[in-house]
């Protein structure tokens, strides 16, 4: 175990359960996240950016520091281009609904989450045309297929960086470079990759980066948003919500500058205080170190599952080509049964079903039955993996 902290939290719940559902939300959180949130509530408390008194300024300072930390993690030089929202879904909706217009074509992939597919489906109703480029059966994407789908009316390419079902890493940099060559915008859903894979707005040619705070950034739920690259001007992006921003109060039209243009209403400053603490922890550990740790666990889990008769693993089955999210089925057992028995009999918590991603399951050939998903995180250990393998092995033996 390379992850270090003086008071490292355990991946075991108080009742002894092993938490392997980090792809849904990470748990536990690093030491300091909850403390920062309590500190905000107990001692800072005021509304950020709404008043000029010292408590309000202190609150705004915390939110701004979180903005800087997010910008720094993703290589964005201007923290004011970080727009906070509820989560990654909020960020994706802002980008898609805020930029696409009837007649535009948008290209996406066969591995997307409903956070992308549902807004796109809605936009189709107003005349936005959607092209879905198929992926291989392991979820991987050939960038040239994306390039082949580009038409004169194409305006944007939207894709996830890593699959929430089976961890497959998509070639965002290659796709970003293709988009730049054709003067298109690229929107990347980093829900499953932010904090475990290096991501850089410039190097990866990303125009819009949607992120969530509560997964591998290790912050609390209710934090996330969108980073808006410099190729997009405020006037080009229609906000999802309008309202009070604490700025330009004399005017009844929405401000035309970031982040205020897209951040109406009081921010989740408590959550952002927690996210700031989490990002400081992440910076101390280093994304590469967390990736190495998770890769080692992922390799053990993949090798172990490959040796269990009756277990079918979906996705790349290669820790270099995926995040530490592993999808599988046991022949003869429904995924929901596996999930329930892992929970009740083996104290292992995971997610089963379709994972809000019917497209991805169709690509993987697991639709409509779904699969079992084990999501490893920074605080999981080799012992957690071993225990999961023993449990799956026993279930597979009984099913066989």
């Amino acid at each position: 175990m390379n992850i270090t902290a003086p008071d490292l939290p355990s991946s075991r719940a108080k009742d002894g359960a092993i938490y392997l559902d980090n792809a849904a939300t990470s748990w536990p959180k690093p030491p300091g996240v909850a403390r920062s949130m309590c500190h905000f509530l107990d001692e800072v408390g005021a509304n950020p950016g709404r008043s000029g008194h010292r408590m309000s300024i202190e609150a705004a300072r915390i939110v701004y520091a979180a903005r800087e930390a997010v910008a720094s993690l993703f290589g964005e030089s201007d923290p004011l281009r970080v727009v906070f929202g509820l989560n990654v879904t909020d960020g994706i909706n802002l980008a898609l609904h805020g930029l696409l217009k009837p007649g535009d074509n948008v290209i996406t992939t066969g591995m997307e989450h409903n956070a992308v597919m549902r807004p796109l489906h809605d936009l189709q109703q107003i005349g936005v045309e959607v092209t879905q480029v198929p992926c291989r059966v392991d979820g991987s994407l050939e960038p040239e297929r994306v390039e082949g789908a580009i038409r004169s009316v194409t305006r944007m390419i939207v894709l996830n960086h890593a699959s929430n079902v089976c961890g497959t890493i998509l070639p965002i940099r290659e796709v970003g470079q293709i988009a730049r060559r054709h003067d298109l915008l690229t929107l990347v859903d980093t829900a499953q990759s932010a904090g475990v894979l290096p991501i850089d707005m410039k190097d990866d040619a990303i125009d819009l980066l949607a992120f969530t705070g509560h997964k591998s950034l290790y912050g609390p739920m209710g934090t996330g948003g969108l980073i808006i690259g410099e190729r997009i001007q405020p006037a080009d992006l229609h906000p999802l919500r309008q309202g009070g921003t604490g700025s330009r109060s004399e005017r009844e039209i929405q401000p035309e500058f970031f982040p205020d243009r897209c951040e109406s209403g009081t921010a989740n400053a408590v959550g952002l205080a927690g996210l700031l603490s989490a990002l400081e922890w992440l910076r101390t550990q280093g994304v590469e170190k967390i990736r190495e740790h998770e890769k080692a666990l992922c390799t053990s889990l993949l090798e172990g599952l490959a040796g269990i008769p009756g277990v079918v693993v979906h996705g790349p089955r290669d820790a270099d080509r995926q995040t530490a999210t592993i999808a599988f089925n046991i022949r003869g057992l429904e995924a929901s049964t596996v999930g329930l028995r892992l929970d009740e009999e083996f104290n292992i918590l995971c997610r089963v079903g379709l994972h809000c991603a019917p497209s991805a399951h169709q690509t993987l050939g697991t639709f409509p039955d779904g699969c079992v998903r084990l999501g490893l995180g920074a605080f999981n250990t080799a012992a957690d993996v071993q225990q999961a393998l023993e449990a799956v092995s026993q279930l597979a033996r009984e099913a066989g």
Partner: protein
Amino acid sequence: MSPACAVVLVDSTSRALRIEKILLSQGMTCKLIPVPRHLSSDCGVCVRILKSEMETIRTVLNEHQLNDLEIEVI
């Protein structure tokens, strides 16, 4: 007698915080305060600076592409 001051008017608290950070890192004196009513009806904050540092600060802000900001003596 307190020193003569000026304020940098900004369009958002986020921007005020960015300016504060830049000025403090360059050893300038500054403080975020509510915008004086006679300068704006906005409910936000501005950055109070020393009048004696006004020109240096203008140069620093220009170097950070913040050259569209009004600075008013108060």
